[in-house]
Point group: C2
Chain length 319, copies 2
């Protein structure tokens, strides 16, 4: 579940009075999402999402995230549009947290990814990259390569509790990834967390992208590599090249991947797998028993990482 | 969270094709509720709730629950109305479970109960009791006094892990409650679980009651006693007689409580506290670590039970 912060009726009423979006009709916690508390909010003027930002989000980053979402929406991208209060603010305090109201997007995220989802997903990712180009402020990727060493340092001593020998393996693999990490690839604003539960489909097409709270300014092709990890493996961790071909076909129909970007996909995919493996491993080792959210198994990304390390070149992804 | 069963897009599309409620627009898991999986479903014709019945609900009881809800809605009670598929069925298979679609009720359940909630709550409970009178089929209370002994039998050996000496205490108290349990009070259909999260308020009044999956045919005043437990204690487990007076005032404005019903309130409140204590104790002792739902602390109802056991008579509730 993803409701960490309960909002009293009085607090909600006072919060809504800051906005010009009509009277309260309904307010239900949303089960999806693990980072923030999300509520479906219905008012007399329509449907909205109310988000309370929880501890993993740095409050100083919030204006950047919401600014990017406003910019993308203004470019015609279907993403949540932050609603401004009467005084122009789109971030306001609620129940001891900072909160926002955003527009509601129709659509359903795919519980089971099919090959037919992957071409529109690739196209949406490329369009997102292009649409972000006019947004001047930048944000460093807080979970990029610089963060992996320290994160592994916090986990490596206990990693063998999860899988014997994994601590030493990850240390060696991280050295290999860091040494090969590309330095001169095109950079811009990326989503950095475009998993299936952040992509809504409707009537066979994409109706919107959500959850920009890991967005940052980093290598475009790294965002492609995140999607190769998140969308192209089957439940048995076999890699489905039909899906990756469709994803890359959709992407390159809107933004050309240069030869250098294509050639870097294996190491970028290794890095992306390492990023999710490390954050999951950290959560796995540090989530108290009885916590609201069950941590995700880090070994899912250990298996993906092993696949990408064994890849000879980007032809494994169908490029 | 309360999404135990994931529904694939294909399964959902096939399920909705059985109904005449328009095309799919959105589908989000709802965080509230612990027994069943609930989704907010939006179609081109409006908002609905899709419920998948999980293991605690006996499938044989479902037609009774939905029949009662249809009856209550026909009597003008604001409760979810089961939607019938084109073939007339209101229960259909989905993702290995039995599922229903019901209408969406506006309103917000009170996160913090105030005295002003309690009079309308009492009135709504009495109206529910009256509205149920025309519904002929009955359902035995599966969590009534007959069930408490066996439930305690499954827990008493481990109860002392939760609180030293509690196993023997509960055994003694249950004997006392059973010996005093009233036999001749008016009986009818009761909600039996009317906690604040099952009662929606809007603009100062009650907009609807939900979650009829513990409803049964039992002593009316027992339902009042459940509400005394669920609505009238403060967070420090002190009993707020202003709230109970308001609750009883609201109730008796619509349905007279006889002298015998009033006099039985202490033992009925003891029994209601015992029922929630025992189910919470069982869940506390039997929920695996890492389960989706964190079990609720059984001691909350141990404290309530001690209050009701110390009560001299029903004047403690303001009657």
């Amino acid at each position: 579940m993803a409701v960490y912060t309960e909002v009293t009726d009085e607090a909600l009423t006072a919060f809504l009075a800051l906005y010009d979006i009509g009277g309260l009709v309904a307010f239900r916690g949303i089960a999806e999402g693990v980072e923030n508390s999300n509520y479906a909010l219905k008012t007399s003027t329509g449907d909205f999402i109310l988000t309370l930002y929880e501890k993993r989000v740095n409050p100083e980053d919030l204006p950047w995230f919401l600014g990017l979402m406003e910019h993308l929406a203004a470019q015609g991208q279907s993403c949540p549009l932050p609603v401004r209060a009467r005084d122009g603010r789109n971030l306001n305090p609620l129940s001891g947290k900072i909160a926002s109201i955003t527009t509601f997007l129709p659509g359903i995220w795919p519980r089971r990814v099919l090959a037919e989802h992957c071409e529109p997903l690739g196209a949406a990712l490329a369009k997102l990259h292009l649409a972000g180009q006019g947004f001047a402020p930048t944000r460093k990727n807080g979970l990029g390569p610089d963060a992996w060493g320290p994160l592994l340092g916090k986990c490596s001593g206990q990693a063998d509790q999860v899988l014997a020998g994994m601590g030493a393996e990850l240390t060696g693999w991280l050295e290999r990834i860091n040494a090969a990490w590309p330095q001169d690839l095109p950079v811009g604003h990326i989503h950095a967390d475009l998993f299936p539960d952040n992509v809504f489909f409707l009537d066979g097409g994409i109706s919107g992208l959500i959850d920009f709270y890991f967005a940052c300014t980093d290598i475009y092709a790294y965002d492609v590599a995140v999607c190769l990890n998140a969308w192209c493996f089957e439940r048995d961790f076999s890699f489905n090249v039909t899906k990756s071909r469709a994803l890359l076909r959709g992407y390159t129909a809107h933004r050309v991947l240069s030869a250098a970007e294509g050639a870097a996909l294996p190491v970028l995919a290794q890095g992306a797998a390492m990023r999710f493996l490390l954050t999951r491993l950290y959560d796995w080792l540090n989530t108290p028993q009885g916590a609201l959210v069950t941590p995700k198994d880090p070994l899912d990304y250990y298996r993906r990482l092993r696949f990408h390390l064994a890849v000879e070149d980007a032809s494994a992804y169908g490029i």
